[in-house]
C-alpha cells in the first residue's frame, strides 16, 4: 500500500490511502471463489486482450488491419525488450533481432525457395541463436556499455550488406512468397502474440523468472547462490532475440521484401518507447504501449513534418503524467481504491 503524503498550502495535511478492493482480497484465495462476479474479476484481465484482438481483427477496415499487423509486430518487439530489461540488459538494438530474422527467412525463401511455414520457424530459432551468439561476448559489459553495443550492431550489419552487396545489397530481396491469405497473416500473428504474452508472463512469474529478475536487482547475490548468471542471461537473451527474429521473419512474408530498412532505428526505439509508456516489467504494459503508440503514429501521419513533434510531445506528456506506465496505473485502479484521509 503506497501512501503519497501531500501538504497543500496551509490546508490540512492529508495523504492518499490505497486499499485493496474487497473483491481482490477475496479472490486471491482460490477457495473463496464463490460468485460469477469474482470469477469474472479474476478472468477479465486475461480475457480482455483475447477478446479485444479478436474483435479488432474482424471490425477493422483493410487498411487498419494492416496497421494491426504492424502494431502486433511492435508489441512483440516491446515484449522482447521488456524481458531483457527485466534481466538487467538494457537493449538499444531490437532491430538486430528483427533484421536478422527478416534476412534469414528472406534468404531461405529467395535462394532456396523454402515456403514461409518453414522459413519463419527456422528464422525464429536460428535468428535467436545467431543474435545470442553476437551478444555473448559483451554480456559481461554492464549498463550503458552493453547498450551501446546493441545499438551499434544493427547499424554495422546494414553497412556490411551495403558494402559487400550480399543478400541483394541495397536492392534487397523482393518477390518473396506470401502467406496464404490476409486472415492467416492476421490470426497467426495474433495467436503468437497472445501466446508470447501469456507464456512469458507466466515464465517471468515462475521461479526461473525470479532468478532473472534477481540478476537485474542484485547480481552478486544471485552469483552467491551458486547460480551462473551468464547462463541465465544467455537464456533470457535467446528468448528475447527469438521473439524479435520471429517478428522480422513474419513481416518479411507480409511485405514480400527484405532489405536494409529492417535494421532501421525505428525497430529499436519504438519498442522502448512502448515499454516505457505502457509500463516496464509486466510484458502486458509493453504490449499496451505498442497498441497506443503505433496507431497514434498512423493517425498523425497527416501532419507531415510536424508528426514527430506531436509524437514527441505526446511521449513527454505521458511519461510525465504517468511515470509508472499506463498498465501499472490501470492495474492499481483495478485492484485498489483510494481515498484521502487527514493526517493527525
Amino acid at each position: 500500500m503506497g501512501n503519497a503524503e501531500l501538504n497543500i498550502g496551509n490546508r490540512k495535511k492529508r495523504r492518499k490511502e490505497r486499499i485493496d478492493r474487497g473483491i481482490k482480497a477475496r479472490s486471491s484465495d482460490i477457495f473463496a471463489l464463490s460468485s460469477w462476479r469474482e470469477m469474472l474479476y479474476l478472468a477479465a484481465p486475461r480475457l480482455l486482450p483475447i477478446v479485444g484482438l479478436l474483435v479488432l481483427s474482424v471490425a477493422l477496415s483493410v487498411y487498419w488491419q494492416r496497421v494491426l499487423l504492424s502494431v502486433s509486430v511492435f508489441a512483440l518487439l516491446a515484449i522482447s525488450w521488456d524481458i531483457m530489461a527485466q534481466t538487467g540488459m538494457i537493449s538499444l538494438g531490437q532491430a538486430l533481432f528483427f533484421g536478422t530474422g527478416a534476412y534469414l527467412s528472406g534468404t531461405m525463401n529467395h535462394y532456396w525457395g523454402w515456403p514461409p511455414y518453414i522459413t519463419i520457424p527456422l528464422a525464429t530459432i536460428f535468428g535467436g541463436l545467431l543474435c545470442t551468439a553476437f551478444l555473448i561476448p559483451v554480456l559481461r559489459l554492464r549498463g550503458i556499455f552493453f547498450s551501446m553495443v546493441t545499438l551499434v550492431l544493427p547499424l554495422m550489419l546494414v553497412r556490411i550488406i551495403e558494402a559487400t552487396r550480399i543478400f541483394g545489397g541495397t536492392e534487397g530481396l523482393s518477390g518473396l512468397t506470401a502467406l496464404p491469405s490476409k486472415w492467416v497473416e492476421l490470426y497467426v500473428l495474433i495467436i503468437v502474440l497472445l501466446a508470447v504474452l501469456f507464456g512469458f508472463r507466466r515464465m517471468m512469474n515462475s521461479d526461473f523468472g525470479l532468478v532473472l529478475k534477481g540478476i537485474n536487482d542484485n547480481d552478486r547475490s544471485v552469483m552467491n547462490a551458486g547460480i551462473n548468471i551468464y547462463w541465465f542471461k544467455i537464456q533470457a537473451l535467446f528468448i528475447a532475440s527469438s521473439i524479435g527474429a520471429f517478428a522480422g521473419a513474419f513481416l518479411t512474408h507480409v511485405y514480400l521484401f527484405v532489405g536494409m530498412p529492417v535494421f532501421a532505428l525505428d525497430y529499436s526505439i519504438l519498442p522502448i518507447a512502448s515499454a516505457v509508456v505502457g509500463g516496464i516489467g509486466t510484458l502486458a504494459g509493453s504490449m499496451l504501449g505498442a497498441f497506443i503508440l503505433v496507431p497514434l503514429s498512423e493517425i498523425l501521419r497527416g501532419l507531415g513534418g510536424l508528426r514527430i513533434v506531436f509524437y514527441g510531445l505526446f511521449l513527454v506528456v505521458f511519461t510525465v503524467a504517468i511515470p509508472e506506465g499506463i498498465f501499472h496505473y490501470i492495474q492499481r485502479k483495478y485492484h485498489q481504491f483510494e481515498r484521502w484521509v487527514e493526517v493527525e
Binding site: L210, V211, K213, N218, S221, A225, G226, I227, I229
Partner: protein
C-alpha cells in the same frame, strides 16, 4: 596437522591500486572449526572473504579447499564446491516477501545436486528454512516483503540463504552488527546448531564478547596482515593486538 585442512590459504596478496588490502595472509581451517576473524575497520576482513569466495581475484597467492585449488574461480563455482557466505551489507530483494527471497538459493544447482535432482516444493522448503533461523511459523513475518522487515530479520534471512545451500564452510561477515544483545543471543544457538551438524564456520565480528564465547580460534588482521592467530584469550593478550585495537576497543 595430521588431517588435511578443509581450507588452506597461502601467501595471499591483494592490492587495490596503491592500497595493500591483504599482505602475505596464511592460515588453515580444520573441518568443524569455528574461526573468528577480527581486526579494526579497513583491516582487510571482508577482502579476505571476497578472495576466498571468488568475488575478488588475488594479486598473488593460493587458496585450496578440500584439496582443490580454487584461486580465482568464479563465485558460483566456489559455492557449488560447498562454501557459502553472507554479505556485510544485506541487500535482499526488497519488493519480494521474505520466503520468496529464498527461492534463488533454492534454485541453485548445488541444492539440486544435494536433493538428487528434485527440489520438492520450493516455497515449503523456504518456509522450513526460515523457521530454522527464527521466522516464527505462525507470525506471518515470512510473508512480509523484505522492505518492511527489521534488521534482525534481514540478518536472519541472509543467514538462511547461506544455510539453504547446505555448505560445508559458512563465512559470516559481521552477522551480528546492528543487532541488539537479545537478537544476537537468539542467533547464537542457530550457529551452535550448525557446528553440531559438523559445518565449519568463519565469523567476522566486531562484537568480540559474543564471538569469543563461541570461537575455537581467532585470527587478527591489521592493515591486511595477520598479527595474531590462536585461542581467543591468548590472542587478546598479545601486544600487537592491544596496539592495533588501542582506542578501538578496550
Amino acid at each position: 596437522m595430521e588431517a588435511a585442512p578443509l581450507l588452506k590459504v597461502s601467501k595471499l596478496y591483494k592490492n587495490f591500486g596503491g592500497v595493500q588490502a591483504i599482505q602475505d595472509l596464511n592460515f588453515e581451517l580444520v573441518e568443524g572449526e569455528l574461526l573468528g576473524l577480527i581486526g579494526p575497520n579497513g583491516s582487510g576482513k571482508t577482502t579476505s572473504v571476497n578472495l576466498i569466495t571468488g568475488f575478488v581475484k588475488p594479486t598473488k597467492g593460493e587458496i585450496v579447499f578440500r584439496g582443490q585449488n580454487i584461486t580465482g574461480r568464479a563465485p558460483y563455482k566456489i559455492v557449488r564446491l560447498g562454501i557459502a557466505r553472507t554479505f556485510q551489507m544485506v541487500k535482499p530483494f526488497y519488493q519480494l516477501p521474505a520466503y520468496k527471497n529464498m527461492i534463488i538459493p533454492l534454485y541453485s544447482p548445488r541444492v539440486k545436486q544435494m536433493t538428487g535432482g528434485k527440489y520438492g516444493d520450493r516455497d515449503a522448503v523456504a518456509l522450513d528454512l526460515l523457521e530454522e533461523v527464527g521466522f516464527e511459523r505462525d507470525s506471518h513475518v515470512a510473508y512480509k516483503p523484505a522492505s518492511v522487515l527489521p534488521q534482525g530479520y534481514l540478518k536472519r534471512l541472509e543467514l538462511a540463504k547461506a544455510i539453504a545451500l547446505n555448505p560445508d564452510l559458512i563465512i559470516l561477515d559481521e552477522l551480528f552488527s546492528g543487532l541488539s544483545l537479545a537478537e544476537v543471543a537468539s542467533i547464537v544457538p542457530i550457529i551452535e546448531k550448525l557446528r553440531q551438524e559438523g559445518k565449519s564456520i568463519i565469523m567476522i565480528e566486531h562484537r568480540l564478547k559474543e564471538l569469543f564465547r563461541i570461537a575455537d580460534r581467532v585470527i587478527v588482521l591489521n592493515y591486511g596482515e595477520k598479527i595474531a592467530d590462536g585461542k581467543a584469550a591468548e590472542v587478546m593478550e598479545s601486544d600487537a593486538v592491544k596496539n592495533a585495537y588501542l582506542g578501538f576497543e578496550a
